[in-house]
Each structure stands twice: as structure tokens, then as C-alpha cells.
């Protein structure tokens, strides 16, 4: 398995993940369920939980990570130009490349076609919403698998909420079609160049994008004998 490269020798080379991990704090959450302004009855109100992202790693990344990064840099430098890959993060033995949103399609094209890379399979595109990560609120995460080399990498593409456009990779990975539709449906990320970007799970006329953090949970009051309990997101908070 390539998920834990520290225990495997891929390509005849022992993979040692970078241990230098500095974390970039983008948000600090307080209490338990994120509701404020009501009485705390549980004592959990004092909880403080930072939302931290691992910072970009420095060379060497360790093992085949360097090989992939070098090869990608080389093929991108020849065609797309530098700057398409903004940074690389090695965390918990996994390689994540942060790619610019305009050029993710070109990067994927090279990742798939180059003999030294050969990431033939895009196993999923998911979305993440970081409302406090200013200018990079919406992330799309691509998981790529190279069956030729038995390697897995992750691409992360960020877009601001005010301009949620990311280049579509459907022309490179046809399986990305429904994944991009799902990410559009739930996070409102518009994949430019997608053949038919419509909602896939929610009804066609649904307003809003439900997996964003600021989307209300909804629900109705629950009626009991002699009492009414408000819907979950309006109940007394335990923070």
C-alpha cells in the first residue's frame, strides 16, 4: 500500500515522510456545536479547538514523493509554465499538491499522460468549505491513483467564495463527471468546461448549496404532549 510509504519501499527506495510539521491556524472553534449566546449547562463551553492546516513542506519530501515532484516540475516547466503547483504538503506520509485553479486541467493532463507519473485514475473529487480561510474558502480535493507505479497523490485546489470557479478535469478523467456535479451541487463550486454541470443529488430547483458551513440545517419543531422542542439547530446549545 502506498498510503503508508514509511513502511514500504516503492521503486527500490525507502520512503521517509517529512517530520517537520508547522501548522497554519485558520480558525479557532469554541464550545461544542458552534452555537453561541445561550446558557451553558454542560461545561463544554470552555473548549477551544483550532482548525489547523499543515504548511508547505520543504525538500526533500522523502522517497518517491521527490521523484513525482521533480518529474511534474519538469513536464510542467516545458509546457504549462511554473506556478501551476503552488505548494506541496507532506503530512502523515501522504503527498498533497496545491494546484492553481486555472491550470488544474493541464496539471492533470500531464499527471495522467507522462510515463514517469501515470496517474491514470481519479478516484474522487470532494469539496471542503473553510469559511474562515479568507480568499480560499472553497477547496476541491482530487485523489489520484497511479496503477502503473502503485502510488497515490492528492491535489487540492482552492477558490474564493466570491468567484467559485475551477477548471473542469472531465476531459482528462471522464469519471470526474458525476464527482464534479456532486461537488457543484453541495458546495457551489463551478467547474468551467464541464459538459453538463447540473445538480446530481438535490432536486433541480433547490436553492443554495447544503454542505456549506453557513447553510442552515433546517427541520421542524417536534411536538410532544404539552411541549414543543425546536428543530435541532435552534435548540439550546451545549456551549
Amino acid at each position: 500500500m502506498t498510503q503508508d510509504p514509511s513502511s514500504t519501499a516503492v521503486g527500490g527506495e525507502e520512503v521517509v515522510p517529512s517530520t517537520a510539521r508547522t501548522l497554519e491556524v485558520i480558525d479557532v472553534r469554541e464550545g461544542m456545536f458552534g452555537v453561541h449566546g445561550s446558557g451553558d449547562t454542560s461545561g463544554y463551553g470552555g473548549l477551544q479547538r483550532p482548525v489547523a492546516m499543515p504548511e508547505a513542506s520543504a525538500r526533500p519530501y522523502g522517497g518517491w514523493f521527490d521523484e513525482v515532484a521533480d518529474r511534474l516540475e519538469q513536464v510542467l516547466g516545458e509546457s504549462v509554465g511554473a506556478g501551476a503547483v503552488e505548494s506541496a504538503v507532506v503530512d502523515r506520509g501522504e503527498l498533497t499538491l496545491h494546484v492553481s485553479r486555472e491550470r488544474v486541467r493541464d496539471v492533470c493532463q500531464h499527471l495522467r499522460d507522462d510515463a514517469g507519473l501515470r496517474f491514470e485514475l481519479c478516484s474522487g473529487i470532494s469539496g471542503v468549505h473553510y469559511p474562515h480561510d479568507a480568499g480560499r474558502e472553497l477547496h476541491a480535493v482530487y485523489h489520484l491513483l497511479s496503477m502503473t507505479h502503485n502510488r497515490r497523490i492528492r491535489l487540492e485546489v482552492a477558490a474564493p467564495e466570491s468567484d467559485p470557479h475551477i477548471a473542469s478535469v472531465v476531459s482528462v478523467y471522464p469519471t470526474a463527471d458525476w464527482h464534479e456535479r456532486e461537488t457543484y451541487d453541495f458546495f457551489g463550486i463551478v467547474f468551467d468546461g464541464h459538459p453538463a454541470l447540473t445538480r446530481i443529488l438535490m432536486p433541480d430547483d433547490w436553492p443554495g448549496h447544503p454542505q456549506r458551513k453557513d447553510y442552515p440545517l433546517g427541520g421542524i419543531p417536534v411536538e410532544y404532549k404539552g411541549a414543543t422542542i425546536p428543530p435541532p439547530d435552534e435548540r439550546r446549545s451545549y456551549s
Binding site: L201, M202, P203, W206, P210, Y215, P216, L217, G218, G219, I220, V222, E223, Y224, K225, G226, A227, T228, P231, P232
Partner: protein, 184 residues
């Protein structure tokens, strides 16, 4: 005492209503409408151990035009709601709806934007079956109670009066929130 005593043996008398109810209740044709985990229990209800063929309803129909009982087994999402209503509209009358499980009955644990809070928002429900999911025994019990209800259903003008009476009772019923006393 009357006509009965003059009949030869082997002949019974009943009402047309009673006979229609007897035939209707014993020949359910359920539509397959499994939506979630309750559907697994519904399948078990049809399988040999619980054997719904004992009640004449072992043949689940994939076409609503051949079915008269819809067992809504599972949570109904907002997107599935128009589909469910269309299937109900396609069923020939007399037709019955059994809301199986708390999700179909009231939304259950899914009190959120995506799930219809009780299938009675979109179709009239004849029998509510609680449980998460209910055991096949509970589904048998619900079907038996529905049998009783159908056996007692009236016909023609009496049916119109019965509907009006049910409506009056429902309108005059005390809302749950206005009830007093213990939670039961």
C-alpha cells in the same frame, strides 16, 4: 329468527359491505417501495420465516398499476417526494398507504432540510407503524390492524358519511402540544 332459520345448511348471510371488506383485506397487492433500512425488514416480512403469503400479500408488484397497498419503508427525501406521489396517483383505488418506521411517519431522526417530515405531507396515510426499523412482527401487527380497518370500511353513501365523520373527529382532536399529563 327470520330468514337465517329457513336457509339450508352451508349457506351464510352477510352484508355486501362485509363481503367486500373480507375480499379486499385478504388480497393485498403491495407495491415495492423500499427506501431505506426499513425495506430490509419489509423483505424479511415477505420471506419464508415471517411469510406474508399467510395474509395473501406475498406478491410485491413493481408496477403501481397492479398494486393497492404502498408500504413506504424508509425516509422520503425532498427529491423522492414527487416520485412517491406519482406512484400513489398511479395506483388504482381502493388504495392504502402504510407508513413504515418513524422516518416515514414523522421524519424520525432526520429532522433537517433534506427529508420530508412525515409522508402524510404528500399522501394520505392509513396506518402508522413506529420503530427504527420495526421488526417484521410489528409490520404483521400493522397489516392486521389495517385488515380490521378495511373489513369495517363502508360502501357508497355510508362511506361518504364515514369520511365526513372521520374528518370531523380529526378537526376536533386536541393538538398534541395542548394535551396534558404524562408523555404517552
Amino acid at each position: 329468527m327470520g330468514l337465517e332459520e329457513k336457509l339450508p345448511s352451508g349457506v351464510l348471510l352477510t352484508t355486501v359491505e362485509g363481503l367486500a371488506g373480507y375480499f379486499r383485506k385478504a388480497s393485498f397487492w403491495p407495491a415495492t417501495f423500499g427506501l431505506a433500512c426499513c425495506a430490509i425488514e419489509m423483505m424479511e416480512f415477505g420471506a419464508p420465516k415471517y411469510d406474508s403469503s399467510r395474509f395473501g400479500m406475498e406478491v410485491f408488484r413493481a408496477s403501481p398499476r397492479q398494486a393497492d397497498l404502498m408500504i413506504v419503508a424508509g425516509r422520503v427525501s425532498q427529491k423522492m417526494a414527487p416520485v412517491l406521489r406519482q406512484i400513489y396517483d398511479q395506483m388504482p383505488g381502493p388504495k392504502y398507504v402504510l407508513a413504515m418506521g418513524v422516518c416515514a411517519s414523522s421524519g424520525g431522526m432526520f429532522n433537517n432540510y433534506a427529508i420530508v417530515q412525515g409522508v402524510d405531507h404528500i399522501v394520505p396515510v392509513d396506518m402508522y407503524l413506529p420503530g427504527c426499523p420495526p421488526r417484521p412482527e410489528m409490520l404483521i401487527d400493522a397489516v392486521m390492524k389495517l385488515h380490521t380497518k378495511i373489513q369495517d370500511t363502508k360502501l357508497g353513501a355510508h362511506r361518504v358519511a364515514e369520511i365526513a365523520a372521520d374528518e370531523k373527529v380529526a378537526l376536533e382532536a386536541v393538538p398534541t402540544t395542548a394535551m396534558k399529563g404524562l408523555l404517552r
